[in-house]
Symmetry: D2
Subunit: 405 residues, 4 copies
């Protein structure tokens, strides 16, 4: 996924059951649009507008940007008589589609107090109504494809909303509760530890069926892997605290050179949201400040930290291919898992023309692949071929560690 | 004044008419507290929380900080049984009083989405009620002095609110209107230009009466001035546009070395809020985007710009003493006027002990004095001995130029 | 290679012909030590000490650091009675071996005017003599391995010396000549352009013989490649100028997101050392400023530029595996060629214990692999399995482009 | 003086004894030119070229720049047939005279390894010979004035050379000795401490005689001062260590707001060149590392530190006027003494036209005045009206503290 990186879907399905497909899309559309609003319900108007760091977008912006996507690529793309909700919104809520025109630069999103939140909810309602009408006109296959993409795009932003809301609230002086029942950032322990072994062999990688997927998963191809083992479950807080208490953040031998420079310059000595208060390890969660349970799954580490931890353990991180091959035997879906694979194109990858082509290819440098899914991932979006990616220094997304050897 | 710099009052008045004084303070208190709220009325909840640059504080913060001042120095200072509204507020809304405890660092004020605006209005009401009760108990002279200071302090923040609100709204992509009738940032032309001449002589400088004043105005003392002349009115936009069109921003001979480096590094080529749109000079005001009227008084220049303009004119800026001596003959009160005096202590200046002593002395380096007042200055706060001060590169406050020779 | 990144050699050769091996090492040692000095001969004392950017080390530093390597890992490692030349040198000339003790931080190397150049030449002579003596004592296999590594290490620094000297001289105001006969940065045209085709298949990757190689080439393993084609020769200046003149640096569609941000922030609009003077494209070389010959091989581009150029051409960059498989059919050795492979470990990669283990593993993030060699590469160091690596934004090393599809 | 700030002389002397004046200038010229070379004699070629921070210029640059001054303003200005030594030198060695053409930007002076030191000594000899010839032609008054200015200018650079050489050597890892007999940075104790009292009154300020002075001293004018006292001698290291050991660097109440931010951001906890080694306070001097003698005069403090120390002592710093009025009764000339006066123009100050007019006016913002002289000040350049100036955060020049009350 990446901060706001997504992918072009690739529906090659025949259109014979178009009506069935449309009915299904209508349901999905209604459901995803409602869920985005629900995620924001616990917020105050003031929470919607801030951008504490460039990587974190204001919740208001997510609400509007996901709507702008449907307006721009569906309504304005397919309806000649569509009347824009507000012509200034295109400028406000374009994320990074250079081809779709000028836009507010990313680091300035937090300056936009206007348009106000209320107005953005009106925008959502207006576009939702237009979309429902449009879906009633039996749109062609190309339109349906883009609608499907817009739904997946919004799912991705739902997960980003969790990351960003947590960052905003987690940096208030007194750790406010988002929702006392929220559990999306509290993956819990997942059974005993085992090494799952895989013989060497030739394996198929990438998405091969007709179901929805992004273009970075396409290019189904074979790889040769040597024999390897992967841990049956992700690393826990208990295991990571041992690393910390053993001086892991002070031993340069465990770190990449870039990683060491980064943690020293930034003064990083623990995963994000971890605080030692009165001698106890506490962590901020969306349901408030809680004591760290050693059995809980570790969350909020960077790739640098994941790699250093693996070094300390005498292990390594799996490649994305090793991960995918054994996925069916692993317990995954609690945290995104850093792999030791750089985010690069599969064979035959080619970017689509125009603005939607900016989805993926241009992010394929300097980032590492994460596999799996987190407890904040929208249901229906996780699959074993999904390639998520982030820069190696980032901690604010819901990422943890799985070991290999 | 400075971003949030103020001064200890110096009431040496006898207490014989204490009742009269208290009645007067009650009225002033009610009036100033109401006006602050009124200034914020046109804002949306989202406008209250942002901090686009470190110098600009969120309006919410001003509302709470001025209240915190009364709570901390009056209610907590003089009432043993006072019950704090919320113990976390002291941390949130202390500005720079190191002696008054830990606080949110200045550049992070814009991260505080909590406490919400509504809560801050409750805070104001709570403290207002407590203050009214307290004033009913015939507090002693020391308490009255601090209340008086708190009132003046809030007046200063009223003017800062105008600066900060303008900055926030003026950096939205589409120039929203704060209030279409607002005129506080639209000083208008003030008659014909004359040189007012003053013979050399010995003059008295500083505040000498019993009326309210800050400690940086005290230390009434004599200075010797050589003969000089001061312009009868401030510089207009028309005059400044000539400077711009004559290449003023490209001729290093006109600038201080530090000033030249600054404008080149920042890419500054005009006063703040000036835009050339479709070939016309426009400016953003609190009542919206308007065309520049050459007769309007120039506003939003830095000291560097003021000095360069004076060089270009073959004139200079007056010293703060020259300004004060001729004040009664000048037309002033439209914009703060940069002087060529550095902000330094008057003879016998001494800072008060404790937190209130942090008011002034610690700002007496690297800043230049401005004299006069602006159309956004609260009535009752302008007087000819008032010493305002800002760093020489700043443009966001309501400052203009008066020439001398 | 990387700025100063190298690898542990892996000599598993039997020691039966130890004497032959030692004789050969003596010759190699003498030859490589002499060549380093020769590279510096055209320099003035003043040229030896500067460090214009962090990536560029002062030539003096290279001279001393390569000597320090032999002193630290050979003489001090194997001789109990070795007398250090100067105990402060260990601090001065350790590069990044945290395990080998404290050191001058990298960005401060240019502050070290002391010890003077003359002293460093004395240091070299002292260590050379000790090394020759030591080689006369029939050292054991382990020592010979490290001497071999030291020789390869110095060869790598010879190439870095060319990069750094060029950077230092190329940033003087008047383009001084290093040596009017120097041709190491002037790769010339290499015949006609062809696409070399390769059928899909399974291929062996990595170093498999007993000859010298670094540990990052080890881990010989199989990969599956789909059918592909590679250009028979690298891109020329003529081809790249077309890209520039077609607006390549202004079309964001051609760039990685990180690449676009980087070139815009840095104002990069051409390869390094290219200047348009009086309407003609000129380039700085070690033999002085010369006009760009369109037939010359392109040199001094970053990975970002290489990738953007390939996009513009409708092609792509080869992976390092594609490159290695076809290496015998390509014309290479003029410039290092950016591949589309991230620098990551081969299977079974494990770092050596202690200071020498810092050689490679810790650089395996955020860098891209380059294959081939440049005209500045020391003879005997180029081989088709050699994995060079640099951060994707760097231009100062001798890198160019080879296309694939 | 400021890093390289100087002033136009103002010789209004009649020309009747022109020959005497010329003879005197010849002697002065020879003497000052020789002394500059002598100051550099202990340096190695490598020491000449580095620029560890922007404020510090390479010694080579000083040697050339002072020569460039005579070449540009005298030889090229008055001799139509003068043949430049090297036309590229004007670009290399112009300091900040925008009117005198393009130049190497200040922060890049340390990149210039070329022209080499030897060449610069040739340049000096060439210009010296031409100057001697020119002086033999009985030049007119205007030329003599500029020669006089060039001599004073070079004296200023002599003192800067001491500052810069000390900075360069003092930042080598092992504290090299410049000259074991050097004492220019070792002011010694100066008798017992007394308060010198001055009644209030009207005093004359500024240079009033015909002897050489800069234009910033002109504008002789009257000031009124209230009664005050000044310390008979500057602060010693012993006194300052008490301040340090009393937690002076940890008590924000003692500091300017800007000063506090600066020392915290930079991690400053002592004057420059002070090191605690094995429990003892040591300081780096041009004659090597020595233990701090409590009786020695304090040196290498910023204005911020001077002000904080005075606060801690319950005193203040004198204004430049208070200093000048009592100068004849003080023991001064060991270190430059920070005053509490900002560097601003005297009445009737006006800058000269053209390049020489860039001497002073453009530095009159953001800097504080220092009075007195240091043990590194060239003989003949110290006088009680001399106004030196530096930015308030700088420590590398030879500055100390004198108290007032």
């Amino acid at each position: 996924m990446g901060p706001t990186n997504h992918d072009i879907m690739d529906i090659t399905a025949t259109a014979e059951e178009r009506s069935v497909e449309i009915a299904s899309l209508k349901t999905q559309f209604a459901s995803v649009r409602e869920r985005t609003v629900n995620i924001c319900t616990p917020l105050l108007a003031e929470d919607y507008a801030v951008q504490p760091i460039t990587d974190v977008s204001p919740p208001k912006w997510h609400l509007a940007h996901t709507t702008w996507f449907f307006e721009t690529f569906v309504l304005k793309g397919f309806l000649t008589d569509y009347k824009e909700f507000d012509p200034t919104f295109a400028y406000h809520f374009n994320s990074y589609y250079n081809n779709a025109g000028d836009r507010v630069i990313r680091s300035n999103r937090g300056l936009m107090t206007r348009p106000r939140v209320e107005k953005i909810y009106e925008y959502r309602e207006y576009v939702d109504e237009c979309m429902v009408s449009f879906l009633g006109t039996h749109p062609d296959h190309k339109a349906l494809e883009i609608i499907q993409l817009g739904i997946q795009h919004e799912m991705q932003h739902q997960e980003l909303l969790y990351y960003d809301i947590k960052y905003i609230l987690g940096h208030q002086p007194f750790f406010p509760v988002y929702d006392s029942n929220e559990s999306s950032d509290k993956p819990t322990s997942s059974g005993t530890f085992d090494w799952i072994y895989q013989e060497e062999g030739v394996f198929q990688i990438g998405h091969s069926s007709d179901s929805f997927h992004f273009d970075n998963e396409k290019g189904c191809h074979k790889v040769i892997l040597e024999a390897y083992s992967i841990a049956s479950r992700p690393v826990t807080f208990g295991e990571y605290l041992e690393f910390m208490e053993d001086g892991g953040y002070e031993d340069f031998n465990l770190w990449h050179s870039d990683g060491w420079d980064y943690i020293k310059k930034q003064g990083i000595t623990s995963p994000l949201y971890i605080h030692k208060i009165s001698g106890r390890w506490m962590r901020y969660t969306l349901s408030g400040l809680v004591e760290v349970d050693p059995n809980d799954v570790l969350i909020h580490v960077s790739y640098y930290e994941a790699w250093a931890f693996a070094q300390w353990k005498g292990c390594r991180l799996p490649t994305e291919f090793e991960w995918e091959v054994l996925a069916d035997k692993l317990d995954w879906g609690q945290v995104w898992e850093w792999t030791n694979s750089a985010y690069l194109p599969y064979p035959r990858f080619a970017k689509a023309p125009g603005a939607l082509g900016e989805y993926n290819g241009k992010f394929m440098v300097n980032q590492m692949v994460l596999r799996g899914a987190s407890t904040a991932t929208t249901v229906g979006q996780s699959r074993k071929t999904y390639r998520n990616f982030f820069h190696p220094h980032l901690q604010w997304h819901f990422a943890g560690i799985r070991l290999a050897k």
